[in-house]
């Protein structure tokens, strides 16, 4: 018995050694993003757990962008179901967060014009301590690179809302594309095809005082055919596989990395940068530089937004602070 045990220990050591060699080879040939994918680490560590909606605990995220709630049955009451189009958006709360939105989506509510720029809206959690949380990652990890989208609660294709701050939340690219868009597409195409109405209720779910929702609760019900066409009750996870999110602040980083300090350089959303303007010389400067300190008060102004807009208005960048 003793001999057998000893022999097994030797095998274990050899196995461990082989594993270490294999791991070293993997790390030598692949970057972190590839390794994450190879290991199937899609679960976003940091995703809030124990979320309860209408008495039902939302299962933890397991690589699927959405999950059924209440066995997929929406919970509209008879009095809530309308046959005429409308849209409703809650007022922002004291933390600047969106609340429940709902609509009776009909063909008459849908947009007839192209979507406009929504970059002027800064949803809760988009920025923290003056810095944008919209960090850029490898496009292997995030489609398009930037982790966050200004996610419409009631999708633009359904109600044509552009820069409505009561309808835009900070959501991951994954939430927007995999968790929300498919449901909007289904409703939009059903309404176009049948000219029927669909009740659609969208609720961002926040844990405590978090600035970023942990997910979005969506319910849909086609009115005229009593749910035969559209009928769902789902929770879509506001996660980005491979990236850890601090939902309290919106800050985020690669899973397994340390949270960057406030001094660490972050990629700022170009639409949220503030510049100091000299309206006389038509120069613009970095807000943090001293270049603009001597500008006369009557010539001094500030602008928050994309610098291309300033250039389009005839401004040029300061050659010293190079904004």
């Amino acid at each position: 018995m003793k001999k057998k045990k000893k022999k097994r220990s030797g095998g274990l050591i050899r196995s461990l050694f082989a594993l270490i060699i294999i791991a070293a080879l993997i790390f030598a040939f692949y970057n972190a993003d590839d390794i994450l994918k190879m290991l199937g680490i899609s679960q976003t560590q940091g995703a809030p757990s124990d979320i309860v909606i209408n008495g039902e605990t939302v299962p933890e995220y397991t690589n699927k962008p959405y999950v059924n709630l209440n066995n997929g049955k929406p919970t509209f009451t008879e009095s809530e179901i309308k046959t005429q189009s409308y849209e409703y958006y809650s007022e922002l709360d004291s933390l600047g967060r969106c609340g429940v939105t709902h609509a009776c989506v009909g063909i008459d509510l849908m947009p007839t014009e192209d979507r406009e720029d929504i970059g002027s809206v800064t949803p809760s959690g988009w920025k923290y301590n003056g810095k944008s949380n919209n960090n850029k990652y490898s496009t292997k990890l995030v489609e398009g690179g930037y982790i966050y989208n200004r996610c419409h609660l009631i999708g633009f294709q359904l109600a044509g809302e552009n820069a409505n701050e009561k309808n835009l939340v900070t959501g991951t690219r994954y939430l927007n594309i995999e968790g929300m868009l498919p449901f909007e597409n289904m409703i939009a195409d059903y309404v176009k095809e049948t000219k029927n109405h669909v009740m659609f209720r969208v609720t961002p779910i926040y844990n405590g005082n978090d600035l970023v929702p942990s997910g979005i609760h969506m319910e849909g019900y086609s009115v005229e055919d009593k749910g035969e066409g559209v009928y769902f009750n789902v929770y879509s996870y506001n996660v980005q596989p491979g990236i850890e999110i601090n939902y309290a602040t919106g800050e985020n980083h690669l899973s397994g990395e340390e949270i960057p300090t406030t001094e660490a350089p972050t990629t700022q959303d170009p639409d949220t940068i503030t510049y100091v303007l000299n309206t006389n010389s038509k120069k613009f400067h970095k807000e943090s530089s001293s270049c603009g300190d001597d500008i006369k008060a009557e010539n001094r102004d500030t602008y928050t937004g994309n610098k291309q807009n300033l250039i389009d208005e005839g401004y040029s960048a300061c050659g010293i602070c190079k904004p």
């Binding site: 959405y66 059924n68 997929g72 594309i177 868009l181 498919p182 449901f183 597409n185 289904m186 195409d189 059903y190 176009k192 095809e193 035969e228 066409g229 559209v230 009928y231 769902f232 789902v234």
Partner: protein, 134 residues
């Protein structure tokens, strides 16, 4: 047997026991191809063919009923069990991403694409029709 199915960008067919989408012009295209042939469908698909002059045969198991030279329109059935029976596949692609929990379960690579064309539907900008043969 010829099988006709509609798929989204992820090869999905249904969500929460409902079709992902529907389109009147797509159904007209199916009927036009049928000529005088009958088409086997499940009870769930009846709604799509209401008011048309298609010769529909409703069956709880349309794939079984269409064995041989039959034509079958499928929304809520898996196909793998009848893989050996299916000679022609007609796939209509929505070119949209919809929610899904019921997927097309045949490996389309085992068939040869012989025809592909795009057309505008009644509620879909671009539907792609693909015909595959074994």
């Amino acid at each position: 047997m010829k099988v006709i199915a509609c798929l989204d960008d992820r090869c999905g067919m249904m969500f929460n026991n409902r079709r992902q989408s529907r389109d009147r012009i797509l159904i007209e295209d199916v009927i036009k191809d049928l000529g005088k042939e009958k088409i086997y469908i499940s009870p769930y698909s009846q709604l799509l063919f209401e008011g048309t002059d298609a010769k529909i045969k409703v069956s709880d198991n349309p794939l079984e009923a269409a064995k041989g030279d039959g034509v079958c329109f499928i929304e809520d059935k898996h196909l793998s069990e009848y893989k050996g029976e299916i000679d022609i596949l007609v796939i209509y692609r929505w070119n949209r991403h919809y929610p899904c929990d019921f997927y097309f379960d045949l490996d389309i690579n085992e068939y040869k694409l012989v025809e592909s064309r795009d057309f505008e539907g009644s509620s879909h900008e671009k539907i792609t029709k693909e015909v595959y043969k074994r």
